[in-house]
């Protein structure tokens, strides 16, 4: 009796030990067998594309992946095309996708038959911030000046952005709701064009990301009024945040990577480790601090929880804007 018990126990122990040993071994052994496709949810040349290609370059330079990472732009329909594409890649271990906030807003705004809960989260690399900008020639110095000027314009104040339903239009809607003001929202084809139209005097204000206005700001052609962040941005120490000014308006753009639904766990572990190493690389750290990006790395379940929370928040914003019926 005792003998057999011991034997069974020993066997059980041994197999458990073998499994415990084997598990991480399998995980660290997995390597991509073929080039990895990096789907970008935006067109060529935009902020999201530029960042995704920067990641690709650092991965290549630091040899973080055994196979090349190949960026493919699928920006159609505000990322609808990319989301549908990734859904069809179910179980594929050689595809990852670079996302931005349209990851939530696009499926909320139009039914494209995808649920982001199905995708496999990998890593959130950065949060990009938003700042309210005006032309440096204008008299507006503070947020109060701004609100007064927009009110005086009687709805003809031109706010430039990258398209209805895009992040900056949500921020604009938040501003309108908070201060009871009305803008004429003029959509352009990308943050760079918006920045140029602000400096050229074709629009009156924008809520560009800092990186898009950096060049003009350094040349003294545009002026930041307030940041939509909780804490002051390091490169703009003199720009007050909305929070300090007593307005609870914080909005960020997430830059994350996800994999298709049902990606094998060992592949997820490989890519997660790859992005963890990437996050520590010197190039990335330098770039992020220059461009005023917040770099809190988030992976796995914590990232999924963040995604779902953000989706709910965007649902609320879009509902209050009247963009969607709400749920």
């Amino acid at each position: 009796m005792t003998v057999s018990f011991t034997r069974r126990a020993a066997l059980g122990l041994a197999s458990a030990a073998a499994m415990a040993l084997a598990m991480p071994a399998v995980a660290s052994d997995w390597k991509p067998q073929k080039p990895v496709e990096m789907v970008i949810m935006a067109g060529q040349g935009g902020g999201a594309d530029r960042l995704a290609r920067l990641f690709q370059s650092i991965i290549q330079k630091e040899n973080l992946s055994s196979m090349p990472i190949l960026p493919v732009n699928k920006g159609g329909g505000s990322g609808a095309e990319a989301l549908r594409y990734l859904k069809d890649k179910e179980g594929d271990a050689h595809t990852i996708m670079a996302t931005l906030n349209s990851y939530y807003t696009t499926p909320l705004r139009t039914d494209i038959g995808v649920d982001i809960e199905d995708y496999t989260p990998i890593a959130r690399m950065a949060l990009d911030t938003f700042v309210l900008w005006v032309n440096a020639d204008s008299d507006i110095q503070t947020l109060d000046d701004y609100v007064a000027a927009v009110k005086a314009a009687g709805g003809e104040w031109k706010m430039g952005g990258t398209g209805t339903g895009q992040e900056d239009s949500l921020v604009t809607a938040m501003l309108e709701k908070e201060f009871g003001i009305k803008h004429t929202y003029v959509p352009f084809k990308g943050g760079g064009t918006v920045a140029k139209n602000l400096v050229g005097g074709h629009i009156d204000s924008t809520v560009n990301n800092p990186s898009e206005q950096m060049g003009f700001w350094q040349a003294g052609k545009s002026r930041p009024i307030a940041a939509f962040t909780a804490d002051r941005i390091a490169v703009f120490p003199d720009v007050p945040t909305m929070t300090e000014l007593g307005h609870e308006m914080v909005y960020t753009m997430q830059r994350s990577f996800v994999a298709p639904p049902g990606t094998p766990p060992e592949a997820v572990a490989y890519y997660t480790a790859m992005f963890e190493k990437l996050a520590e690389s010197e190039e990335w750290q330098t770039y992020a601090s220059e461009k005023a990006l917040q770099t809190d790395l988030l992976t796995g379940d914590a990232l999924q929880a963040y995604f779902l929370e953000e989706r709910q928040r965007h649902n609320d914003i879009l509902t209050s804007m009247g963009e969607i019926a709400g749920s």
Binding site: Q33, K34, P35, E37, M67, P68, L70, T184
Partner: protein, 162 residues
């Protein structure tokens, strides 16, 4: 020629009507102070297209052209249709058999059977083209072509060249 002209004009009329119907999903009118709606451009342009193709259609009855040549060259139309079919079959096969198998099959058919070239020429072009495509597109430009079921055969190649 007249019949073909009418058939094409009529198809264009049907197509523009379809486009007009499709465009009405978004507002097609003038949206107050913000200019035309999202459907306005496609809708009104399709309408112009409908009117113009209707004009072509009616014109063919009013003043038919004097020399009525056949639209298709009866001797050559068979070749054109054959090539179209081969092209469509090749594209269809790309997703399942992979680009290389599909294109080699197409070249083999086109050069040997359709073009009547010698086996030497057929074989050399059929074999050189995929090698060139692999090195130009995949190895140099890093553009992966669809592989379909032939994917596993490429894994060793990836291991060597990437």
């Amino acid at each position: 020629m007249v019949t073909a002209d009418r058939v094409i004009a009529a198809s264009l009329m049907v197509f523009s009507a379809y486009l007009m119907w499709h465009a009405t999903v978004l507002p097609i009118g003038w949206e107050g102070s913000s200019g035309p709606g999202g459907g306005a451009f496609p809708f009104w342009l399709s309408l112009v297209m409908l009117l113009a193709s209707a004009g072509i259609f009616l014109r063919s009855f009013v003043s038919p052209p004097k020399d009525d040549k056949p639209f298709f060259d009866p001797e050559m139309i068979r070749s054109v249709v054959l090539v179209c079919v081969a092209l469509l079959v090749t594209i269809g096969a790309m997703q399942y058999l992979g680009t290389y198998v599909a294109l080699m099959g197409f070249l083999l058919w086109y050069l040997r059977i359709f073009g009547g070239h010698s086996w030497t020429l057929t074989a050399s072009i059929t074999l050189i083209t995929p090698v060139f495509l692999f090195f130009f597109f995949e190895v140099t430009l890093k553009i992966l072509l669809p592989k379909g079921v032939t994917e596993p055969f490429f894994l060793p190649l990836y291991a060597i060249f990437f």
